[in-house]
Point group: C2
Chain length 264, copies 2
């Protein structure tokens, strides 16, 4: 059982309702990483879905979660179809909803239609051992999550502001060596530093309003390569795009988020 | 009152519940355009929101809607915050949910933070009078929606398969001359032909699983320019990206959808 499975365990608590404990080991600063909360929610959705893989996951981050504290997850099926199961769910702590998720699950290995194919090639990146670990002292914020996620940043982009452009690329894997699955990709999509760090330097807190991840393929085992970029920042609101590739170079997930660039 | 306002009118029917009539004038083939159904839902969300503009709208299209038939819309606030109101809603017909929406509303004219700015420039396009109207006979499908939306396609891309690449660009406006607003942009983001037509030719029905639109600015009056592209098609599942610019050339919306390319 992987660390991620263990730390997203759910205890059934009635119809469409589960109890969970939000660990503080996935924290960024004082609060759990949003992607970790979503991973807990996806576990609940998965139990209600006839299809195994989350193929589209939209999360609205309403309030920061609380690490080391209990949570309640509720989930319901909106439609159970032949190809897709669509669900919505929420994770609450202390009676307040922290994250609301709507997702479609499908079977990524059940190919439908084969008319054409298009893909995005991965960026060229030095091997993981030549990329420095994501640093725990960005802007003075502690990153306990680095004990559970192994994140290496492109050497030219490891220092905030040094890349000169709003782009971050790097490698990521679960620190316990567990192979990634579709759910882990959703977590990975939210685990790199904001790409605006690359051009603007340390910019303060960049809270995510909404993050949508499309999982495209089940990932092969090994490192996952990620790249995120921002080409749209307007009056403190940014749209950041991300993509993930598995160890075979296959495009495995896309992501886009609306984030806020708060004044420091 | 614009045609869009009139045809998305809601009659309150209790707490968080409205009755509507889905018109058949926004049909693509036999069913209402998904963006039109979402426009109805956004009207209901708007009445519950202290903030006027939808800034992130995710729609899951569960079943085709039915034109010329009544509908029930339900909506609820997930969080009412200082900067954002987050809501979820559904539109049902005949007791079945057709579309499920989660959205964040904000005030696009209340600027926050001004650290840097980045934007995407609009593509170069001949003026609307030199771009042919979107044709009503693509793949033999009737497009009643063209009586309410004026859509002009880049002359090199107007014929399916002729562009040679998966890209469609063109102009769009409400046919009755009403100026666009943030809600109209969500509708516009779903109104161009699938960009895969550009490279693959007529490809059959391309149903949208999930569409997320980020509205970036309130649009100026006049034509809106749109471009959509697909660079990610894998075993019958595609991710299509779109962007909209207003008549001043400002980037006003982004969109991304997960769609299915069904075998003909």
């Amino acid at each position: 059982m992987s660390e991620l499975d263990r730390e997203t365990a759910l205890e059934p608590d009635g119809d469409g309702r589960w109890r969970a404990t939000v660990s503080d080991r996935w924290n960024i600063g004082d609060n759990p990483n949003g992607g970790y909360l979503v991973a807990i929610v996806l576990g609940a959705m998965r139990t209600l879905s006839a299809h195994p893989d989350p193929v589209s996951v939209t999360s609205h981050f309403l309030r920061p979660g609380v690490g080391g504290a209990p949570a309640v997850v509720t989930a319901e099926v909106l439609r159970a179809g032949r190809t897709l199961t669509t669900l919505r769910a929420e994770l609450s702590q202390g009676g307040s909803t922290r994250v609301a998720v709507v997702a479609a699950f499908s079977d990524l290995d059940a190919a439908t239609g084969a008319t054409g194919s298009l893909t995005i090639d991965p960026p060229s990146l030095p091997s993981p051992d030549r990329c420095p670990r994501r640093s725990g002292d960005e802007q003075g914020v502690a990153l306990p999550i680095l004990d559970v996620l192994d994140i290496r940043i492109h050497p030219d982009q490891a220092e905030a502001g040094r890349a000169g452009r709003p782009e971050v690329s790097g490698w990521i894997r679960l620190r316990d060596g567990s192979p990634p699955d579709a759910r882990a990709l959703v977590l990975f999509a939210d685990a790199f530093p904001p790409s605006l760090f690359g051009s603007l330097g340390p910019v303060g807190w960049v809270p995510t309003v909404e993050l949508t991840v499309q999982v495209r393929r089940r990932p092969a085992s090994g490192w996952v390569l990620g790249r995120s970029t921002t080409d749209d920042l307007d009056r403190g609101r940014m749209v950041e795009d991300g993509a993930l590739w598995d160890s075979t170079g296959a495009l495995v997930a896309r992501s886009r988020q609306l984030g806020l660039l708060l004044p420091r």
